[in-house]
């Protein structure tokens, strides 16, 4: 087995684990977004390593998928950041709290009517 591939599979696993841990324990939405992106990075790394990146040019199909994935990740992050800004305007905090979300959204809907 190619030792380079082993190194990058282990790295991918570590990033994914760290990202998931961060997602579960972090208190701020912005940091949770960072950790979701970390998890994505781990999966991308795994895809390319398994596509043969350690030995030579990796298979073009996973490469194209990861390229698509990188753009999708930035789109999703941008949308999430816009949601975060709106949420902070409504609630005055950058944390997640289920009841507060419901209250703030209800208030906002009431205002619109």
């Amino acid at each position: 087995m190619n030792p380079t591939a082993v190194i990058y599979v282990l790295t991918a696993a570590a990033i994914f684990g760290i990202g998931l841990y961060g997602l579960l324990v972090s208190r701020q939405i912005l940091r949770q977004l960072l950790t979701i992106n970390l998890m994505g990075g781990g999966i991308f790394l795994l895809l390319i390593t398994l596509g043969g990146g350690a030995e030579g040019p990796p298979d073009p199909v996973p490469q194209a998928m990861v390229l698509t994935g990188i753009v999708i990740a930035v789109s999703a992050t941008a949308f999430a950041l816009a949601l975060l800004l709106r949420w902070q305007e409504l609630s005055g905090s950058s944390e997640v709290d289920g009841d507060a979300v419901t209250d703030a959204v209800t208030d906002a809907l009431d205002d619109d009517e």
């Binding site: 570590a14 994914f16 990075g41 040019p57 753009v71 930035v74 816009a82 944390e95």
Partner: protein, 311 residues
Amino acid sequence: MIGLAIDSVLALGIVWMALQTVRSDSLFQAMLMFIVFGLLMSLAWARLHAPDLALAEAAIGAGITGALLLVTWRRLQVHGPDDSNGPRLMTRWLALPIACASALLVIIIGWTALQLPAVPGTAGELTLQRLEDIGVSNPVTGVLLGFRAYDTLMEMAVLLAAWLGARAVATEFRPGVLPGPAHAEVPLVGALLSLVVPISILVAVYLLQAGGSAPGGAFQGGAVLAAGGVLLCLTGRLEAAAQASALERVGVILGLAVFSLTGLIVMATGGPMLALPGVWAIYLVETALLLSIALTLVLLFAAAPGLRRAP
């Protein structure tokens, strides 16, 4: 041997940066660590023989995402101090075994897949054999526009949807949504801009043109062009406008429209949908994609309906 050493150091650096992103006390520091993480990832792509991904990661993953994160952080500061004592989804002691188990799962998947014997006739091999049919020699561009064009079309749709979504949730327009042109009057900044913005356009066009035969393509080029636009926004040369101009509206949907239309015309003339008829069509679609990607990313950064030149 020395390659293995570089890979190990790089891997350690990536893991360390990921750890710091999660662990550091200040959110600002975490964001910086995340940006450095993206840069190290782009080195990892280069080590894994995927220069297309290295370019995309450096320009989009680290550059544009970093700019978006920093500008959002700044906007959050304007609204109020960051209160970092919110509730966690779960306690550390519950999260740790879950994270370890999921990392183990990734290792098992990777280990199993590495043990599998190579299968002949994968999609990638077929692509490499048939690259000449579509007229580009960069296999990644070939896959993106020749063999999996649906993916690329839907990717543009996702980008457009993200922008529309961001517009939909944004509050009513306020002129101050961009960080103020704090450095607008510094002479050095003007000199730098007058060099860097034309160079970003040049590099974007080069990446687009090179994408057929070398690393590059619409997405990398679009991100570089967007970086030029972000610089113009940051230095107050471009301002947020209350309304998108007709040109901007066309620009945002240009990639999707040109791609779909080309695909439909091909279908109307009897070919399969989205099968691009020749190299000129690939470059036409890529140019439209590049313009749309760049404009959408800049508008997402500005969090404004449109942009106009500052007085």
